[in-house]
């Protein structure tokens, strides 16, 4: 499909807003964004993404989507996972190993309890 005008681009943005992986308060979709830049992959994030996928399947969660993102700048804390639950502030997790990944699904996603040990606080003003 080719967009033929600026209006068409804006319309496309509107039409696809449920398909994007950004935090969307109107959606029911939970996004798990895994840092998959070179730094994340080197630290093992592909494996972590697979674990998250497997665990959410085990728990029967069908509204969880796992997506790759780039580098959030915290290469020291890779693998990183950002949890985006509609209506809640996003949570960044760092140093996520398999055990932590399982906990994120079992505790944060299922029970709503944040896995404190792995929470990463980064002060960033986004533009």
């Amino acid at each position: 499909m080719k967009l033929s005008s600026w209006e068409a681009l804006k319309q496309y943005r509107e039409d696809t807003k449920d398909e994007v992986s950004l935090l969307n308060p109107e959606s029911t979709k939970i996004i798990l964004a895994v840092g998959e830049a070179t730094c994340g992959i080197a630290a093992g994030s592909k494996k972590i993404a697979a674990v998250l996928q497997e665990e959410s399947k085990k728990m029967g969660l069908d509204n969880v989507e796992i997506i790759p993102t780039g580098c959030y700048g915290c290469c020291y804390a890779e693998p990183m996972v950002e949890v985006r639950i509609p209506g809640q502030a996003p949570v960044h997790y760092g140093y996520v190993n398999e055990e932590a990944a399982k906990k994120i699904i079992a505790e944060h996603i299922v029970k709503g309890i944040i896995v404190d040990k792995n929470v990463l606080r980064v002060e960033v003003t986004s533009t």
């Binding site: 681009l9 790759p68 580098c71 959030y72």
Partner: protein, 486 residues
């Protein structure tokens, strides 16, 4: 100490899915391009970039708007937009992260530039060593072309722009713009004299605008939010933000984007979490092989293009290597010279031969054969190379030596006068000594591969320096901290 980062170039990195154009569009993507095509004239686009004060993030800090304007004024039927993604400084990975995390930002900016200067084709010169960046760029170009955001008659505006990738084969000199263009044309990666500048005589001898990845990544937000908004960050002469790759002896290795004018202390001790293991900060190396080392007494300097040059270093592309008391500054200078001597393309004599001579002198010093006159010869030869080399590589390659000589002369003097390495890292100069803490456990003597340690049980041992091979086994085996090196 709490310093907040401001993310402009990295605004989408770690936020969007870089392999899904819908994410980028949802964040306002391609609106800046559409705004230019439908609501702004070519001159208005250039004007806003000029007013924003955006300067080249590849190192030298040339005003981007003026570059674009020169290319716009150049008369030609064909023009090109080039993106320099040949990031080669040791320890720097800002551009890789932008391309891996937000490839569309760079593509959109290149199309904006194409519109502004009157070009129809964009070329990204990206290192083949960045396979993930290449893959994500390819996906991004494909998805954007499919939506009609590149190609013929973009969004029905009548403007056409196509994009292609060119892979660099890993020569550092190809980050220099004229070498880069030679390389794209299939020639040897060798620089040529400037002027003429690429804006007039560039790729295939046509007017070409070439900017670095991070420079382009700033452009769409400037178009969307305006020049005054952008000027709200940073300093008067260096507006906006800069991304640094902070590596080395810091607790939090990674990317940091801060407004220009932030101090080194805020970055290193604040955002990067300081030096590990309670060690003391010694120096920060900025600007890669073209830059220099900034010592502790200048930690509070607000960073911008001018202040770093005044300190004998430079902004460079944004690599920042932090060193602590265990790092030998002569060794650091030698590390960079080894790199530049190897990467010199060989076209001009000062760089090809001069850097080799500098490296030989440094090696003599770190091997313990240096004399005090060597320091004067380093200074003189370094200054000559800077004055006479053909391109930026040679003109800046002596900087690591000159800046360390300036700030850390005592370390050089210790090497040439006493043949001693104060940091204890120059292997041939290291001397292991056993102190009074020795309890005579004999572990060192039993582990020494050349049996040069002697002493009775429960008596202090000693090392025969003439036979010691400086392997460091005794140092690492001693459980009482009785062996020191230096």
């Amino acid at each position: 100490m709490s310093v907040s980062q401001v993310r402009i170039a990295l605004r989408n990195c770690g936020v969007i899915n870089p392999e899904n154009i819908k994410d980028y569009i949802a964040r306002g993507g391609y609106d800046a391009m559409a705004k230019c095509l439908f609501a702004m004239s070519q001159d208005e686009v250039i004007d806003i970039i000029k007013k924003s004060g955006l300067r080249g993030r590849g190192g030298a800090g040339f005003p981007t708007g003026i570059k674009w304007e020169t290319a716009r004024r150049a008369q030609s039927d064909v023009k090109y937009v080039l993106c320099n993604a040949d990031e080669g400084d040791p320890g720097a990975f800002m551009d890789r992260s932008v391309l891996e995390g937000d490839p569309h930002a760079v593509l959109e900016a290149m199309a904006i530039c194409g519109y502004a200067i009157g070009a129809r084709e964009g070329v990204i010169y990206v290192r083949a060593e960045y396979p993930l960046a290449v893959k994500r760029l390819q996906i991004a170009i494909e998805q954007a072309t499919e939506l009609g955001l590149f190609g013929e008659n973009i969004l029905g505006s009548g403007f056409s722009f196509t994009m292609r990738l060119y892979f660099g084969a890993g020569a550092f000199v190809c980050g220099e713009e004229t070498s880069l263009m030679n390389s794209v044309q299939g020639g040897r990666g060798e620089p040529r004299l400037k002027p003429p500048f690429p804006a007039n005589v560039g790729l295939w001898n046509k007017p070409t605008n070439i900017n670095n990845v991070e420079t382009y990544a700033n452009v769409p937000t400037i178009i969307r939010n305006g020049a005054d908004w952008y000027r709200g960050f940073g300093t008067e002469k260096s507006p906006g933000t800069k991304v640094f790759a902070v590596v080395g002896k810091v607790n939090k290795v990674g990317l940091v984007e801060v407004p220009m004018g932030t101090t080194l202390r805020d970055i290193i001790e604040g955002i990067a979490g300081g030096i590990p293991n309670g060690k003391r900060f010694k120096a920060a190396q900025t600007g890669g092989p073209s830059g220099g080392c900034i010592p502790a007494e200048h930690l509070d300097t607000p960073i911008d293009y001018e202040s770093l040059i005044a300190l004998g270093s430079m902004m460079g592309s944004g690599g920042m290597i932090v060193m602590d008391e265990d790092d030998c500054m002569v060794g650091i200078a030698k590390f960079y010279l080894t790199f530049t001597a190897e990467e010199s393309c060989g076209k001009c004599t000062p760089c090809r031969v001069g850097n080799m001579r500098l490296l030989e002198t440094l090696t003599r010093i770190t091997d313990g054969h240096g004399v005090e006159e060597d320091l004067t010869s380093l200074e003189n030869l370094g200054a000559t190379i800077k004055d006479t080399a053909l391109c930026g590589l040679g003109q800046s390659s002596p900087n690591p030596i000159l800046s360390t000589l300036h700030y850390f002369k005592d370390e050089y003097l210790a090497h040439v006068r006493e043949h001693r390495c104060p940091a204890g890292t120059c292997q041939k100069l290291v001397r292991y000594r056993i102190t009074d803490k020795c309890v005579g456990c004999t572990v060192c003597a039993r582990n020494c591969p050349v049996s040069c340690i002697s002493g009775d049980r429960k008596q202090k041992h000693s090392i025969d320096q003439s036979r010691c091979i400086k392997c460091g086994v005794c140092f690492s085996k001693c459980r009482f901290g009785a062996i020191v090196k230096g």
